[in-house]
């Protein structure tokens, strides 16, 4: 009787332990030693505090922190590499994308946008179903010296005229979000879904081979590119957000037949913009590393031909010239 107990329970326990050592503990010990990739750095104390906020308020349940080597993930960055996660403890790769992946969000959104979006996601992203995180902000009568109030559109600002300033919790969280920047790995790109091993292919930022001739503006690509990359701040209707993100509708730089300012802004970012006496506090990140010349030309042409704008179309060649000049 005792023998049967030992055989069944002892046997199944032993077999299970062996399997677990082989499939989980062994690989984990090995993979925990993965060295950091080039440019992968540990977080600063404030960013680390922000990571704790990210975990304790459960951001990871709707936002992944991993990019797969699949075409549909290209919009979030290059495929994640093993070395990206050397300092990512606790791991927050995530299992659901109710909202978009955040692996490279630090390169795609500025701090001002993050504060506005946390205070009320609908202020910058109509249709978003993310909860607001107003509990991470103070509403004050007078903004203390050295603190920047969050520039909210009137419809989303407190009704009593109070100003909104971030708490330490929000500052830490935004510091963490801004730290989420993928270091570039030249030559590391799609590989037919084969685990993201490095293959020799042109980096996404390289000038398109066909740039010199044969370019035709693709309006559909222009719109998709704009909606995916630019609309978060400048809004789908091109009107921007007052005092935060400038409008592109009727924007002098967009309407200028000389595209230098517009293309330079897309390629290399801009801050401290003043239009008609209004100062815009948003910081635009550079997109030279994320969009190729043809993408940028399509987006620029979409902006030049939408919302009542009528300006001379640009070509990828012009983008390539300014890209080279800006380096």
């Amino acid at each position: 009787m005792k023998k049967e107990m030992w055989a069944i329970f002892g046997g199944s326990l032993l077999l299970y332990v062996v399997i677990v050592l082989l499939i989980a503990v062994g690989p984990a010990i090995d993979l925990a030693r993965t060295p950091p990739g080039p440019g992968v750095k540990p977080l600063t104390p404030l960013e680390e505090e922000g990571r704790q906020v990210f975990a304790s308020d459960g951001c990871d349940y709707c936002h992944t922190l991993q990019v797969r080597p699949l075409p549909e993930d290209k919009v979030f960055g290059r495929p994640s590499a093993p070395g990206d996660f050397a300092y990512a403890t606790p791991e927050m790769l995530g299992s659901e994308r109710t909202g978009p992946d955040l692996t490279d969000v630090g390169n795609r959104r500025g701090e001002v946008w993050q504060y506005m979006h946390l205070y009320d996601p609908r202020a910058v992203s109509p249709g978003s179903i993310m909860p607001n995180f107003k509990f991470m902000f103070h509403e004050v009568k007078a903004v203390p010296a050295g603190v920047a109030a969050v520039p909210l559109p009137p419809a989303f600002a407190p009704k009593n005229g109070d100003k909104v300033i971030p708490t330490q919790r929000a500052e830490a969280l935004v510091a963490f979000l801004m730290s989420l920047k993928q270091p570039a790995i030249p030559g590391y790109a799609m590989n037919g879904g084969m685990g993201g091993q490095a293959v020799a292919s042109a980096p996404a930022a390289a000038p398109a081979a066909s740039a010199a001739g044969g370019y035709a503006y693709d309006a559909a690509k222009g719109k998709t590119g704009f909606d995916t990359t630019c609309a978060a701040c400048h809004q789908a209707n091109g009107e921007g957000v007052p005092t935060a993100f400038p409008p592109l509708k009727g924007n002098a730089a967009v309407g200028d037949d000389d595209p230098t300012t517009q293309l330079d802004t897309i390629l290399h970012g801009r801050q401290g913009t003043v239009i008609g006496g209004v100062k815009y506090s948003g910081v635009m990140p550079p997109f030279a590393g994320q969009l190729n010349d043809e993408d940028i030309a399509n987006i620029a042409n979409y902006e030049r031909s939408s919302w009542g704008n009528h300006a001379k179309p640009v070509t990828p060649a012009e983008v390539a010239k300014l890209r080279a000049a800006g380096k």
């Binding site: 107990m5 299970y16 991993q66």
Partner: protein
Amino acid sequence: MAVTVQDLSRTGPTPIRGEQDDHELSSIFKAYTVSATFWLIFGTAVGLLLAFKFGAPDFWAGKYLTFGRLRPIHTNDVFYGWASIALVGTAYYVTVRSCGTKLYSTALAWAGLWLFNIAAIAGTIALDLGYNWGDLEYREWPWPIRLVFLAALIVTVWNILATIARRESQDIYLSNWYIVGGLLWTCIICLVAVLPWYQYGLGQVTISGYFMHNAVGMWFTPLALGLFYYAIPKVLNRPIYSYALGVLAFWTNLVFYPMLGAHHFLFSPLPWWLQTTAIICSVGMLVPVLGGGANYLLTMRGRYHGRIESYPLAFLFVGVLCYVFGSMQGTVEALRSLQAIWHFTSFTVGHSHFTMYGFVTFAAWGGIYALLPLATGKRPGQLGMAVHFWLATTGVAIYVISLSIGGTIQGLDWVHGKPFIQSVVDMEPYYLWRGVGGILMFLSHLVFVWNVWRMTAGKPGDAPSPIMQSEEAGA
């Protein structure tokens, strides 16, 4: 061997012991069921609120009621509060009865119940205060709290092993293989999940993949299957179709299930061989799933009659169907081509409810309706069980179907390169239907409370004996 099984799974003319003479066992079974029912109500009330928030994101968005804090409270409480406590309660009854003996220690059973509850209460409070162990799926509780849960498991397995050791029969009935296996394996799972030495970066990702599927497949699955092997023959008053098939399913489950966890991280930077092993083992799972499923369905053969004779059997039947189809769905989802579309979408949420609700929760309900009246001598009302059954079945069907369709649309939106917000907008009607399903499911739980009340402290109802007439007697 077959003779033993028949003895164990039938209520013969002279049962080994009277069903109601074991008052200690009865009160333990009652206490576990009542406690589990509390967590079911609490956990699914939170779930319903979460479903509502998809349509009204600014509703109750304060610090302690924000989506990201309530979400792990929902998953952990239905896992470790409801399903774990309910299945351990039935496991005590199954083990004691199938061994034809008395429980080794009542005190240990009570201690276990306290420990399970302390862990669930402390875990809920910790998560709401923001002490979340890194959003690691199903192991969000701070590690000291998960050690309390481990202590509950150790107390339970000790008690159950000691009970089996004092059995009067020669053989150990199959249910106990699954119950003890599940308890022992889960002790290992809990230990591997807290040991700190390899929980860095990708090492921790490996453990997350291992943990999130082993906590389901090596804990809830074996306990629910063990319950099936006892409750289905008991209700039908006939032996299990094939004992050998059950043994085969046990060992193949043990070989394939532990290795499939990495399929949660397909296309991630985890080593390619680990991902491929997980896919192969996900396909291998068809052996125990189809073997086990066929065994249960063949045991039920000829007893459908086009109408529901017995609600305990109806719950067990839906549980078996969801086990078979939910697991097969899991195999299909693990294939790379389909995972590329479904991963990260709400399809996965549909799958987890198909299995944790359709399979595990229906198994627990079937087991409770089949066995609790035998322990307490009190039956629920037939109408109460019927309302519970139809609300829960309709609700979970709406839930799973809407999220499966919506999740597929979500994934295709991404594949077609639409702006991300499009996938959010397209999900809106499916989130709404998920909420409708959720309301029906929650209402069914309130009816379940009423039924539990009648089986324990309240006035018994009019339901017939959960044990159906055997064919010999009927014919």
